[in-house]
Amino acid sequence: MSTSMTGPTDNAPEPRPSPRTCPSPEPHSSPRTRPFPEPPPPDADALLLPVPDDDGAPFWQYAARGELRVQGCAACGELRFPPRPCCPHCQSFDDRWQRMSGRGRIWSYVLPHPPLLPAYAAQAPYNVIVVELADAPRIRLVGNLVAAPDAPLDSVDPARIRIGAPVKVVFHEQAPGVTVPRWLLERP
């Protein structure tokens, strides 16, 4: 197994999380089980919750612990996003989730206006940004730029949003047990 991965100490590889609510399979166990709690039934008046697939579930489990981690290959070390079963570089099925520093830059953004789903229309126009991670510039996460972790989606003046602006991750519990990453301007 490769030990060539370097970086800050909090970037160290870690096995998949096994919080109380999400019994995780043993490493290399088969078949994969769904390690994510059953999502609550969709609420037409609420923001949409992530509906993870098997490969994406660890991302959301780490997010619930306040960690931004990205799937990496345990064999060759290459990071990949979105998560998938197999490394496109070396075809290894073994993965490790690398912790990111949580810093990045805005790569692009939109300001959606209605018609939208009701919960989004209520906050429109809001922003949706794509963040290029400082640790992995080709990995870009879709998210929202907010004034504080629990602030509304329209809490940042659109005039302050610029491509290239440095941002840092925070975490917001969107529903009980469901946490999503959000982004703050480094220089608010």
């Binding site: 993870p52 979105p82 959606p112 949706v128 794509v130």
Partner: protein
């Protein structure tokens, strides 16, 4: 034609007939009934009996089933049927699949069609019960809900990297609207567009306004594909399928193609390489283009992808009336998805056929070659047609 490797598809099949229903915000009939009307009209246009049909090709998303269509129109025994995926990315692939089936002897009379009630039916993005698990979990919770939001991200980045402006997107919207104003079948036939209207229109997803978005239309279209040898006996001037290609680039992610090294080079680049490799002519020889226009920024991106200009030059290409009648590359000459009808791009195929027959409402004089493309931003397809 000799059985040379790789020469099997070129000019082997022709589009012999086209048909369509009316286009409107709301049509009373079902998608199935509309499909049958378009197919029967296309067969009549070709002068081919429905009982001769032995191949079908269609799209995914709001599908009309070939079993239902075949028995309704009175098709014969069917020996080839295929569906091309990814919504609007499949339009040209339907013709490509039929041409390949006919060139390889699997069938002799193929029908491709699209029937869709996207005008009066539900908007797919409103469905919260059924989410595509990948990649919806990475985008939808954050309010990136609609195709306009997803493409808006790429459009904003494109503007940032290459200096494209809203005026460039307006050039696209205007060219399509001007051609629709010449086409009595177009939804926007009697509705001119001005720069003032465009610049003051309501936003859908900044940087995209209302006029950067395609229509929402009910309607159906079809075409009939047969072997080139048969074309001599038919009612209409044949239009040859000169080259055809699909494109799913390495590490592509669909509409939310944000996770590649270079998100602004989409499926068009992949399809184009294959398309031109098989062709006897190049982009400079194309007389008229029907380029998929669900959103205006797809046009500059596609102009680059299909080689009409260099990387980052697609926006500037639209300047000086280049896309208008008499310009460098007359575009979407029936009005396209922006102003004729949005039926997942099948109207671009039928308009390509009309241009090469010489029967278009905004006819390009002596048009002999036409590029038709399917949805950019999703796994796509394209055709080079010639008279």
């Amino acid at each position: 034609m000799g059985a040379t490797m790789g020469a099997g598809l070129k000019d082997a099949a022709v589009i012999a007939g086209i048909g369509q229903t009316a286009f409107a915000k709301r049509l009373p009939e079902s998608e199935r009934a509309l499909a049958c009307r378009a197919i029967v009209a296309a067969l009549d246009d070709a002068g081919i009996a429905p009982s001769e049909v032995d191949a079908f090709a269609s799209y995914t998303m709001e599908e009309t089933d070939e079993v239902e269509v075949a028995k309704a129109i009175g098709a014969g025994d069917v020996t080839f049927f295929a569906k091309a995926g990814y919504g609007g990315g499949g339009s040209c692939a339907t013709v490509a699949h039929l041409a390949a089936a006919i060139a390889t002897g699997q069938a002799s009379v193929g029908v491709a069609w699209r029937s869709r009630k996207r005008g009066s039916g539900p908007r797919p993005w409103r469905n919260t019960a059924v989410q595509l698990p990948t990649p919806a979990q990475w985008t939808r919770p954050f309010g990136l809900l609609r195709p306009a939001d997803e493409i808006g991200i790429l459009a904003r980045r494109y503007m940032h990297e290459y200096g494209a402006t809203r005026d460039h997107f307006f050039n696209v919207a205007l060219a399509c609207r001007n051609r629709a104003n010449q086409n009595p079948d177009a939804v926007m036939y009697e509705r001119p567009l001005t720069r003032e209207m465009y610049m003051t229109a309501r936003w859908i997803s900044e940087p995209l306004c209302l006029f950067d978005n395609c229509l929402e239309t009910d309607g159906a279209l079809a075409c009939v594909v047969v072997a080139a040898e048969r074309a001599r006996d038919l009612r209409q001037r044949p239009v040859y399928v000169h080259s055809a290609a699909q494109g799913l680039p390495a590490q592509h992610h669909g509409m939310v193609n944000y996770w590649t090294d270079d998100p602004l080079t989409g499926p068009a680049w992949t399809a184009a390489r294959q398309l031109w490799k098989q062709a006897d002519f190049g982009p400079e020889d194309v007389d008229v283009a029907q380029i998929y226009d669900a959103f205006t920024p797809l046009i500059p991106l596609s102009l680059e992808g299909y080689g009409f200009c260099g990387r980052g030059e697609g926006a500037a290409f639209t300047e000086g009336g280049a896309l208008e009648t008499g310009g460098r590359l007359p575009l979407n000459t029936a009005g396209g998805g922006l102003s004729e009808a949005y039926v997942h791009g099948f109207n671009l195929i039928t308009e390509g056929v009309r241009q090469l027959r010489g029967t278009a409402t905004a006819q390009v004089p002596d048009a002999a070659t036409c590029l038709v493309t399917a949805g950019e931003g999703v796994p796509t397809s394209a055709l080079l047609l010639r008279s």
